[in-house]
Subunit: 378 residues, 3 copies
């Protein structure tokens, strides 16, 4: 089969880092909450790549520290006690840490302890951009955020609105379902399709396998893969079974999803979507081995306050219900249904791929090669 | 102890296959549903020996296929989509399989895929008999069904009615509890006993240990063990504790349970039961390592339509409530209470058996020697 | 750090038995129920150090036997059947055991079995003292109870009242939280403190590390450690953060908790507490690897019937609500919050201790050296 040479070999060699990355890739930026969810002086616990992290906004800036006391390992957020603006004190024995650098600056129960000033909680770099809170899970100086988001996401006049929810599947199944061109079939009855008069085929009959993807791996730029199936295939509008037509795609008037790409550390860009003037950016953020935070955003280029306000209204009144929930609920179901097959890693070697999976194969290879580290269980 | 020579040796050597068969014996027939539960064109998912299987009736005949798509491993029955009478299409990318031979005959999202015609889902032979659906979990050509049911079950003029439920114990504990003559004690307060005026001792004082069982292992026939305790023992009607009578068995007028036998792959025959003209056939069908489907049936020889109808009414109005539920509920409790001791296989070596367990010992040996394969976890 | 030399070494060598003792120490006495909870002829199942045990009072005396039948391993208490005062019969096949020595004295279903008189259930020595039922989990002749309770607990004129509850943490985290002087901080808002006008600092600034504890390991006596922090430290009443006062302790009029000590196999004595005339004795009894029975008692020296009655009333009307529940609820929360860090034993090597933990270090060492055995999983 020309389209799929030596899959077994790719699997064991080329994809090996990807298969190990059950908890995601380390040394990357991930969105974890909306900026509006982190209020001044109101700590919020999150879990990210298996690590318990505590967020707080201090003097307008958001900080992230390890949510586990150095002393006896209790979870700080089990009982939040903040006695100064810049610190949090462990509720158990009063070890007191600064939000900005994690340093143990005092111990309420033993002010003369030699540990004071000598220890520090792990901190995580935080950036606030486009109304999202990004956390860098890694070691050392973080790379610029712009290298970990899809091209255009940070563009100055692009307004972004979003939401997130927890999905019961590994993050890779989220990423692969999103980037998988063949999965359009599951959306065939979505009210978004008829309701928004969208062209939605049942699938795609791919052409030359060598023209189906284009990778971007330039230094200092986001690393990702474009799925070119749309250009190099024949869309399928009639599903045949044993010679007889069985189902049909939707022939609407709006052409959408013309450019689909996926980027490290696991974020999809669909353009335009779900409407000709919008772009969907969505992250599959590893939480633990069997769940991910599905962080969905829509972006629109707006050049005036009125346009921005109108997009914000439209986002909440229309697109959340019709697209982010209604339409994408099918995707969540698909990821959760794949999970048992991949939970013990047997799926990676037992799956049988077909031609449109070429894009997924490319993504697995790129992610294996260009990630900045594998997160280990801790 | 003459009755129980070298138990330890039997355990580690003779019973080894039986102890490994946590998921049951492969290459055997098992009942999974009543025929009336599988309607035309209405797929029903079941789990059997650890395998997810999807049943459907097409053109009157029942088929069984693996309930996991070859492509990305999703469960087909998570969203059943059948676009032709003879096929089921995976809801995810439209891989379409025939019910009869499992062949991948089309892919709705990519009709030209090279995989079409080259792949097939695993199928399972199915037979419908006596109102039950039997599935053969195995490889290659199945053995005739008649070799996997107790003698007489398929007799032409024997009417059969039944029901099934899930029990939270390994299937072997179901089988051993059923075949265990000493377990009558748990039924001493059952309303069936008084209500149906049955003779029910507390137990049996066995005679010559070599006369307690008779095995049948003829080629081409069902393989099983008869418990001859009834013939070679003294029934115990008075329970003594430290020299004083403590409890009594029930001296009714009806003699039942005269012949008790167990057959591969795990089905009991009690004759007559629960009434002099009836026979109980019951299966302990492995579902997973810690649960089994308890498939209970009653058979009666009927020679006219009226007799058949009358037995059917009696089954539903009387025997389900009094025997299959009321009486056998005690058995379910016993199996579930044994489960923790055997879950990690320690029970097989730590149990201390006594004389009436001779029949169970014989069954373990026969099952170890005459099964057609051990089901491995998959 | 002078206070904490070669912690890593202590951990791996000196504490090794303590770290292995996830299920507690074998060959010791543990309280399991109030005497009033075990009525004549009314078996009560308990779990202790991972073992299922069945208690019963026969002729006024309490006995304890293994709650698992020797035959097929079922739990006797799943269906209690006692047909004579001195025995319990297994509900399954009627194996009948004596409460006092566990001997298999009869089998109801087969009165002539060779097993009768040759087998016995494991029994556990029981003592009733101060209104509590103590069980000895071990082998051979038990040591005197007086060696396994804190000094003074059994004093003739000391009245004892108590209660128990299940806590979702390993027993060692219970013991360490109780003995941990630095943990007073968690109680700062307890109504007991203000309500009973107690002096309660935030913590203690320890003096000479070599004077912080005193161990008692004399032969034939209880083995334990006294925390001398109270005498050799400066109590901290003002909690400072980066140079500014943040919180304050409670300067009441009653001096309590002057002497705190912990004893094998895991029982704390706080004197006086929660009032100048009372003493709290509390046990952390291992149930399984992740839970313990928190057995709390208060003792008071009483010299008349009136004084005894008055203490009993006061215990139920005042101290249960104010101290044993209200105050100690904070301790339960702390133990359960530590549990995840220590569940897989990583906490023992990753924790970072500070000066007031000297007493805990001493306890771990003493327990490692003077326990009478490690309970293994069974
Ligand atoms: S556990 Fe946090 S200060 Fe002790
Ligand atoms: S998973 Fe079934 S068709 Fe793709
Ligand atoms: S299991 Fe207790 S008597 Fe058989």
């Amino acid at each position: 089969m020309a389209n799929q040479p030596s899959i077994a070999e790719r699997r064991t060699k080329v994809w090996e880092p990807y298969i190990r990355a059950k908890l995601g890739f380390r040394n990357h930026w991930y969105p974890v909450r909306l900026a509006s969810e982190i209020a001044e002086g109101t700590p919020v616990p999150v879990k990210l790549l298996g690590e318990k992290i505590l967020l707080n906004r201090v003097g307008g800036k958001v900080y992230a520290i390890q949510d586990r006391c150095l002393h006896r390992g209790v979870t700080l957020s089990d009982r939040v006690e903040c006695y100064s603006k810049n610190t949090i004190s462990c509720w158990y024995h009063g070890w007191t840490y600064r939000w900005d650098d994690g340093r143990l600056v005092d111990i309420l129960t033993n002010p003369g302890s030699v540990q004071i000033g000598r220890r520090a909680l792990k901190t995580f770099p935080v950036e606030e951009a486009k109304g999202l809170i990004f956390v860098y899970v890694g070691d050392g100086e973080p790379t610029p955020l712009i290298e970990d988001v899809p091209p255009g996401f940070l563009d100055e006049n692009r307004a972004i609105h979003g939401q997130h929810r927890l999905v019961a599947s590994n993050w890779r199944l989220g990423a692969e379902n999103g980037f998988d061109a063949g999965h359009v079939l599951i959306h065939k009855n979505s009210i978004l399709v008829k309701g928004n008069d969208i062209i939605l085929p049942l699938g795609f009959a791919p052409g030359d396998p060598d023209q189906l993807t284009r990778s971007e791996v330039a230094a200092g730029k986001p690393k990702g893969v474009y799925d070119l199936l749309g250009e190099h295939s024949v869309p399928v509008f009639e599903g045949m079974i044993e010679g007889k037509p069985a189902i049909h795609g939707n022939i609407g008037s709006k052409r959408v999803a013309i450019s689909i790409s996926i980027w490290l550390p696991g974020v999809l860009k669909v353009e335009p979507w779900p409407d000709p003037e919008l772009t969907q950016f969505e992250w599959y953020v590893p939480v633990d081995e069997t769940s991910h935070l599905y962080f969905q955003t829509l972006g629109k280029v707006v050049t005036s306050k009125e346009a921005a306000d109108s997009f914000e209204r439209e986002f909440h009144e229309k697109w959340v219900g019709l697209a982010l929930n209604g339409f994408n609920d099918d995707d969540i179901m698909a990821r959760e249904s794949m999970e048992p097959f991949y939970t013990d890693d047997r799926g990676w070697s037992e799956e049988i791929l077909f031609e449109p999976d070429r894009a997924i194969i490319e993504w697995r290879g790129l992610a294996s090669q260009h990630n900045r580290g594998i997160q280990e269980a801790r």
